[in-house]
């Protein structure tokens, strides 16, 4: 055996089970630490917004939740595709473990966006391209979960779910670029890979800390669910 990491060894549900437990515990601790730091910066360090007053503080959960909703979908579709291509058992379970958390963050992004829209736009909901494509994302998650739940044989359920997840992935770039492609009410990105963030440093720091908290939370919860699924199936 070489010194290289034996990836296929980890691909076995039985060997990954204890590893998942350890990672989940550490991520849960990290999530709590990042959340406390993020909320402190968000409410006590970040200044009041000149135009939106205190209402803007919804940003500290809205934007990280929206990021997670898209990112979790991509990871879910990736594992579904891996399972489809290589027929690895763990991959399908991984995508099942991610779906409810992704749906949850999608709902949170829509809910907080709605409560932010009322004081700033004057409406809870509008059929804007960004909002509509995010709502479709929620239906994709729910459809994926419903489809898997409807098929008794888990291996067949994984394959059917994979097709839906892969086709649905086309919605992710649509959500991401919707504010550029269409003339939407939703504002453009304040943070991007290509330019410096267009907001106060403390606001940006609070948002990043909350994003890290949501990341760690998602990993912890998804791995906890994965352990349940492994136990139920094997």
């Amino acid at each position: 055996m070489t010194t290289a990491i034996r990836w296929f060894w980890f691909a076995s549900p039985h060997t990954f089970f204890p590893v998942a437990g350890t990672i989940a515990r550490w991520c849960a601790v990290a999530a709590a630490v990042f959340a406390v730091a993020g909320l402190y910066v968000g409410f006590f360090v970040a200044p009041t917004d000149a135009q939106q007053g205190e209402a803007y503080r919804i940003i500290f959960i809205h934007v990280p939740a929206a990021w997670m909703s898209m990112f979790i979908y991509l990871v879910m579709a990736f594992w579904a595709a891996v399972g489809f291509a290589f027929n690895t058992r763990l991959s399908g379970m991984m995508s099942s473990a991610l779906a409810p958390t992704g749906a949850l963050f999608t709902f949170i992004a829509l809910w907080t966006g709605s409560l932010w829209g009322k004081p700033t736009w004057g409406t809870y909901w509008v059929w804007d391209a960004r909002l509509t494509s995010e709502l479709i994302l929620l239906f994709l998650y729910l459809g994926f979960m419903a489809l898997k739940a409807a098929i008794d044989d888990p291996r067949r359920a994984d394959r059917a779910g994979a097709v839906l997840a892969i086709v649905g992935a086309v919605n992710i770039p649509i959500i991401y670029y919707s504010v550029q492609w269409w003339n939407t009410l939703h504002q453009g990105a304040s943070v991007s890979f290509t330019k410096a963030p267009s907001m106060a440093a403390a606001m940006f720091a609070g948002m990043i800390l909350m994003a890290l908290a949501f990341w760690m939370y998602s990993i912890a919860v998804a791995l906890m669910r994965l352990r349940c699924i492994i136990k139920e199936r094997e």
């Binding site: 409410f43 009041t48 007053g53 205190e54 209402a55 503080r57 919804i58 959960i61 809205h62 939740a65 409810p100 958390t101 949850l104 709902f107 949170i108 809910w111 907080t112 409560l115 932010w116 009322k118 004081p119 939370y217 919860v221 906890m224 669910r225 352990r227 349940c228 136990k231 139920e232």
Partner: protein, 43 residues
């Protein structure tokens, strides 16, 4: 404290967002722990 809770008149929107988020995340963890316990007692 009341000033903090009022969030400059936007308290309902801000705490409505944070409250529902916290409640949903907490519920997810509770359901997962229950699911895990159920599996442990079965075997």
């Amino acid at each position: 404290m009341t000033e903090f809770m009022s969030m400059g008149g936007y308290g309902g929107y801000v705490w409505g967002s944070y409250g529902v988020t916290l409640a949903l995340l907490a519920l997810e963890v509770v359901f997962l722990i229950r699911r895990k316990r159920k599996l442990e007692t079965k075997t």
